[in-house]
Symmetry: C2
Subunit: 881 residues, 2 copies
């Protein structure tokens, strides 16, 4: 039995997007609800796949069906393909399952040839129109199907205009256009060696094949890569009889949204042109009119369109983006699709549609893109100011928001400038933990090296600070205090501007605007909280971050890193003394200096969290990160500590590691130097007791031991922590509670999670490290090959951005299952970057985690994503895109 490769519009419906593409399915749907859609049919996406399977040939079966359906269409329209007297002309458009605007090709007026052009001239009584259509068709066909450079055609057109002294295309006469058609056909003959195909059936099949081929043009592939669209689903082709908006002043064409796509306001929003074809609206040669004006010009058509728009919105229960054409006062619907909108508009429309009774709260939540919320939380450039800006370079959009300021090349210089009241940006080859203060002080960060999970990117996202990372086209010379892009040199104090949401770097200062969170936003968050079962905590190391996160609805801190506190310039000397101590006693002395400062940190954080749980991770990074790197700093430290410079160098070199990521860090530090864990435990506990006594917040600190891979690491440190905590409880006569738990970030830990859960009171998955070790990728080094991996299709998704379900996810599941085998109620969270990624949140929900923890600015995103996960309760809901 032969397969059905072609569907008339009336044979399809809106649910058949996979087979008919989005455009085809919606044309079918509109046809079936009785809207005025020009007749046509859709060649399916399966035909596209078959085309590629047959080595880029249309099978006889497919060709046969296309011809059959063409005949049906001829009957329907009462016109005939290639008939000089009553010709049928069609458009041929791509339409894949997922919208890929502008990525693939379209051909209009197909069916024109030397004979039918006359028929059209006669039928429309407009010879100029007919030949203009014909020359447009040849140009489009030559460009799209025959791959002849567009500029060759443009050149002829321009020459004709010049010769005649015309300014506008519209001044060209019918005769001019006839001559141009001749010239165009010559171009085709010269370029392809063959005559322009005059048989409409040939034209049609060639056009369909060209659309199929365009599925794999470079820009379509890149678009799919960027938007996580599979490469193997193919596109459908829609063949539709032409209608014309350019046959006179009773004609026109336009596009409209059923609501304002920027704000969400419920009011038709769009524009139209009288006597024009669709491409004229897009081309921007004439200025379109506001859709409201149509009311005055063609009141009946406007009324019909307005009603149709309302009907479509009700029918689809969502904001529609509609294309229409008016041919001789008759309205035709050419396309409807879900309207793209800003995050603000999405939220406004969703909430109002619930209020209107159009959709349910669940539907409102499920249709919002959590990632898009990010737009609402960060500063943006003022639109007007941006227009004039000069784009210098593009890096990775490492941390969203817009920032402008004078550039400085060291953290110290930034801090000094900020102290002088300047707005600054920190520019570095790459950042290191030593730069923390400068990163905090600057408005934004720009680095030349490093990926989406480089130090700069991770820290900046944690701070909610704009960052463009890995901007490889800028050459940073930190010593000379300048960077270059091409020939341009930017020196310390020069202004630039960064868009961390897009990765763009602009010359000069651009005004930014701070967004305000609307009531609709709060409503969506409140609804999300009704549905989600996953708790949402935040990663926060400072009272300020903690407060921001609470404002965004964080229910606790899932990760309070203690190392950033160690980089404070007032503490570094003590920290360094601690590291370089030659005996336990010396080390304890240095730690005693740090203790009151750490305690103050925790007091501030506990106060900001007002009794919500706080998970504090004990010191994690390798100690050499805290030591100076520059010769002058090493010399200064040697003098300060009374060491010979040489000895100091030897000690520092001794602390260097081949693979610090796999070296002496995490719990391994605390096992070598239990006194560090003891000091930190003391700071954590004393602060909690003090905050409880003074402010009445009943803090239950959760002490988290990082990098556990061996059960005995945990049992050993659990004892160290508990013994210290008990001493403090006794000293202070406090009955304050506390938990001791562990990170799950070493693959081995997940494999023996049943053992670990014997001791641990909670788990928190550190999926950054877990991903690094499971893949054997260092995120700092992966930049060297990750681009190749993406280009070659080896790694379609960045596993540091969304969790790798089949690999890393298997370990997560194993850890959860084994951990809960030992302790069925074990509290399990995640505090890696994935904690704020919606796709990953779906996975974490599906494996039964208790909470996710993410950077403050991700908290709203996580709340929404968690609600979506609970509502769909289906691992694949999001991965299906």
């Amino acid at each position: 039995m032969s397969k059905k490769w072609v569907y008339l519009f009336k044979e399809g419906n809106a649910n058949m997007k996979e087979l008919l593409g989005g455009k085809g399915a919606n044309l079918a749907e509109m046809t079936n609800i009785g809207l005025p859609v020009p007749g046509g049919f859709t060649v399916t996406t399966e035909a596209c796949t078959e085309y590629y399977n047959q080595d880029k040939k249309l099978s006889d079966e497919i060709v046969g069906q296309i011809n059959d359906y063409m005949s049906v269409l001829e009957k329907e329209c009462d016109k005939e393909f290639g008939n000089a007297d009553n010709p049928l002309l069609v458009s041929v458009r791509s339409g894949a399952k997922f919208s890929m605007p502008g990525m693939m090709d379209t051909i209009l007026n197909l069916g024109l040839n030397d004979e039918t052009v006359a028929g059209i001239a006669k039928a429309t009584d407009n010879e100029r129109f007919a030949f203009d259509s014909y020359r447009r068709f040849i140009q489009m066909f030559g460009d799209v199907v025959q791959e002849i450079g567009k500029e060759k055609f443009d050149h002829v057109l321009e020459a004709a205009k010049e010769k005649n002294g015309y300014k506008d295309d519209t001044e060209l006469t019918a005769d001019d256009l006839k001559a141009i058609v001749v010239a165009y056909k010559k171009i085709v003959k010269d370029e392809t060696g063959e005559d322009f195909p005059l048989d409409p059936k040939d034209q049609l099949l060639m056009a369909i094949e060209a659309v199929f081929r365009s599925w794999n043009n470079n820009r379509a592939i890149s678009y799919r890569n960027m938007n996580d669209i599979p490469h193997d689903i193919g596109t459908a082709v829609n063949v539709q009889s032409m209608v014309y908006g350019n046959m006179g002043n009773d004609c026109g064409t336009g596009v409209a949204f059923t609501r304002n796509p920027a704000t969400g306001q419920k009011k038709l929003f769009g524009e139209f042109l009288i006597n024009a074809q669709g491409e004229d609206v897009v081309a921007g040669i004439r200025t379109p009119k506001d859709i409201d004006e149509l009311k005055d010009i063609m009141p009946a058509v406007y009324k019909q369109f307005h009603e149709t728009a309302e009907l479509l919105e009700k029918h689809y229960k969502d904001m529609q983006d509609i294309e229409f054409t008016i041919e001789k006062s008759k309205l035709f619907m050419l396309q409807t699709r879900t309207g793209k909108r800003t995050a603000a508009a999405a939220i406004c429309a969703a909430v109002e549609m619930v209020e209107e009774g159009l959709i349910t709260k669940e539907e409102a939540i499920l249709r919002l893109d959590p990632i898009a919320l990010d737009q609402l939380l960060h500063p943006t450039f003022e639109a007007a100011a941006l227009t004039a800006a000069e784009l210098l370079a593009t890096g990775l959009p490492a941390s969203p928001g817009a920032a402008t300021g004078k550039i400085y090349f060291t953290a110290e210089a930034v801090c000094a400038a900020v102290a002088n009241g300047e707005e600054t940006l920190l520019v570095r080859k790459e950042t290191s933990p030593e730069d923390i203060e400068g990163m905090y002080a600057a408005n934004g960060i720009l680095t030349a090296r490093g990926g989406m999970t480089s130090h700069a990117a991770v820290v900046a996202r944690g701070m909610g600070k704009c960052c463009v990372a890995g901007c490889e086209s800028i050459k940073v010379d930190e010593a000379a205090k300048q960077f270059t892009v091409g020939n341009q040199v930017f020196k310390e104090g020069d202004y630039i501007s960064l868009n961390g949401s897009t990765g763009s770097v602009y010359k000069g200062s651009i005004k930014t605007v701070t967004p305000e969170l609307s009531g609709h936003f709060g409503q969506i968050m409140a609804w999300s909280d009704e549905f989600r079962t996953l708790k949402v905590r935040t990663n926060a190391d400072t009272p300020k971050d903690a407060s921001v996160a609470v404002g965004f609805g964080a229910e606790g801190i899932g990760l309070c890193r203690t190392e950033h506190m160690f980089f404070d310039e007032h503490r570094l000397p003590s920290v360094r003394r601690m590291i370089l101590s030659e005996s336990k006693e010396q080390r304890e002395k240095a730690l005693a200096e740090i203790l009151p400062m750490q305690k103050e940190d925790f007091i501030g954080i506990y106060k900001a969290m007002e009794g919500r749980p706080v998970t504090v991770r004990l010191l994690d990074p390798p100690l050499h990160e805290f030591l100076p790197k520059e010769t002058k700093d090493i010399e200064a430290l040697a003098v300060d500590m009374g060491f010979a410079v040489e000895d100091m160098l030897t000690i520092i070199q001794g602390l260097e590691e081949f693979n610090p990521m796999l070296g002496h860090r995490g719990c391994r530090l605390a096992i070598t130097y239990p006194e560090i864990a003891e000091m930190q435990t003391r700071a954590i506990m004393e602060a909690a007791i003090e905050v409880k006594e003074k402010y009445g917040f009943n803090v239950i600190p959760e002490i988290m031991i990082p990098l556990i891979g061996i059960n005995e690491e945990l049992t050993y440190l659990d004892k160290v922590v508990r013994n210290t905590a008990e001493v403090i409880r006794a000293e202070k006569k406090s009955d304050i509670e506390y938990l001791v738990g562990t990170m799950m970030e070493i693959p081995r830990a997940t494999l023996i999670a049943d053992q670990i859960a014997e001791t641990a009171e909670f788990f928190s998955f550190g999926t950054n490290d877990l991903t690094q070790m499971t893949y054997g990728f260092s995120r700092d080094d992966a930049g060297k090959f990750i681009t190749d991996y993406k280009e070659k299709g080896i790694l379609p998704n960045d596993p540091f951005q969304s969790i790798d379900v089949e690999g890393v996810g298997k370990l997560v599941e194993m850890g959860v299952t084994l951990g809960r085998k030992t302790k069925p109620d074990l509290k399990i969270g995640v505090c890696g970057e994935h904690g704020g990624d919606p796709k990953s949140i779906f996975f974490f929900h599906s494996v039964g985690l208790s909470y996710v923890s993410c950077s403050p600015f991700r908290v709203p995103i996580a709340r929404l994503a968690a609600a979506q996960a609970a509502l769909s309760n289906n691992k694949s809901a999001f991965t299906d895109k």
Copy 2:
């Protein structure tokens, strides 16, 4: 019901080692087969555990049973504990399940006090003997039970001798000894504040407790750590009535082996002393006589002993190590145990016992320690020469064997000296791949840094070359061409000697001897091959290594690394040009220079392997390893390649990585530069075709792609390799077969092994990297904390030495199960260091691997271990130690 804590010797047997300890179980066994064993009983290991559980107290129940059994013993011996007229004296000795010679404490003559000493004097008619025993008892009790420094007692003894002008202890008269007893008791009173305990029952309980305590003295704990003996099994205590070898010339004491423990020769081997106690034999004050002489001195006793020894060997079916005492011409057996022996003796005895019909081939195989075979394969120091040697320092026994030579501090210097005919040792802070040639040329390698799996250790083991690694007490100054230990300075050209089996570093040159493999060795190997199911391959990168391995019985190459070949000084320039190429064309040109050289390598290796399978791993290490590190070398390379030095530096810096272990290496290189994989495939295939044509060896190369973690990495490279191989087969009109497979060394690969097996034709587990990533340990850096881990009991076994069954092993099992789910017959091997480790081989056998691959010198070990695994077919057989 009360538990039985005490067993009379006649209540036990040889199988009760766990409960009675080795010594107690054997005393029981000897008692029950009717041998003359002085009466006694054993307090169980469970009592020891109970003692610790009760906070180091003996429970009333245990004390009651001890007293009860003491009464039984009194009746048996017809003597009475504490009876002045007919006193029973006992020895109290420790005895754990596993022999821990000299680690725990022993007390003799217990039961002596001021009254019973007189009874003994009367019974033996030897007052001097009685008081000498008494003073020895007080000293031993004071030392062991009351923890009074031994030297305090020695001081009194020496003073008495000096005062009287005596040279020997034997010159002390009964009166002298009486005075010494008084002085000893005063020491006890002064030190403990209490009188020396005179009640024998008190003495007994105190002694038993002391033995229990000695289970946890420092040297016992270290011994258990070193020998993988669990800490929680406790020791038993044997209480046995005393017999005396020092009551006159019709008395004596001795030890003997039933066969020669050095050679295995079947002949009584031992020594004895007339009129002496056991400790005199050990103390070495008098020179013992050869056991043969006993035949002349006491013919009847000798005959009885000889028969008893034969009986015991037959009974235990193994060589016995026997202690005996002759009291007034009566023979008493005090201990028998399996005799410790050299590897040579073990093999000789095992083979001969099979020939004698004493044991089966299976038993012979199961009782050999595979690791001990290593002794037979490497040079050793001449015993006599070693006696005089000065030990300088001790590092890690990184690669076995003995070596002596002049020290040099760079690979170049070693090579130059070897060219001059010198014997050399390479001394480095740590080695890097650049040192390969020097490592190859030197007799041995000494490094100051790095663990058992550091570069130096791994490479040296691969070469079968002596290496002491991580010898931290030597300070290497490569620039000054010297190292220091304490105050001693050793300069280039000075002689030192290394024992890679023990980690010892000696001053000066020590003569070495090369061992010869006996026919017994071959017999054991042949029997092993009969039983084992696991194939044994070798890791070999050179024809020489391959030949050595074939000589040892390797059945193929499981890992032929290609990177060592790249370090050859004649190739490095081309390799560097390849790395620094700026276009694919440039790179292909450099690769074309390398191709013929690689091809020659493979031809040599294929010839050496004579048609056995050869698995070649494509290039694995990060490219920057091949680039120069020293400024002068960089400058030279820049000149050579026509680069500015600055640009060269930038390029080299650009290739540096934060965590090279997790960086751009393995298959990631081949994905970025497929032309490298293409060149290597060409060299592998062309060489195979040539060797087949010229020499008739039907080589089936197995091309192995390293570091796969993502299925698409493999499918991509599989295509690159196969396309190249097919081109060559067509070019050469050859139908040669080949396989394409992958390393399993990234944790993620084991989790998706079912996918990977769709493409891979074989798996080879790289358990070094798999262990590193599963633990998140870099073996280069773990040295910083691994010592602490061992001391704190966190990591009792080094997971790089024996596979971590519960963590890494779980991933291996998963990889095997998933891989075979896709391809039930999938060939799966292991080519990490674990491939030559017996414990790990047991595990690999248990999970059904097809083969293990190890360094050439490990091949015999692996063959034996594989046979043992097959025979015991029990994962825990070896881990039970």
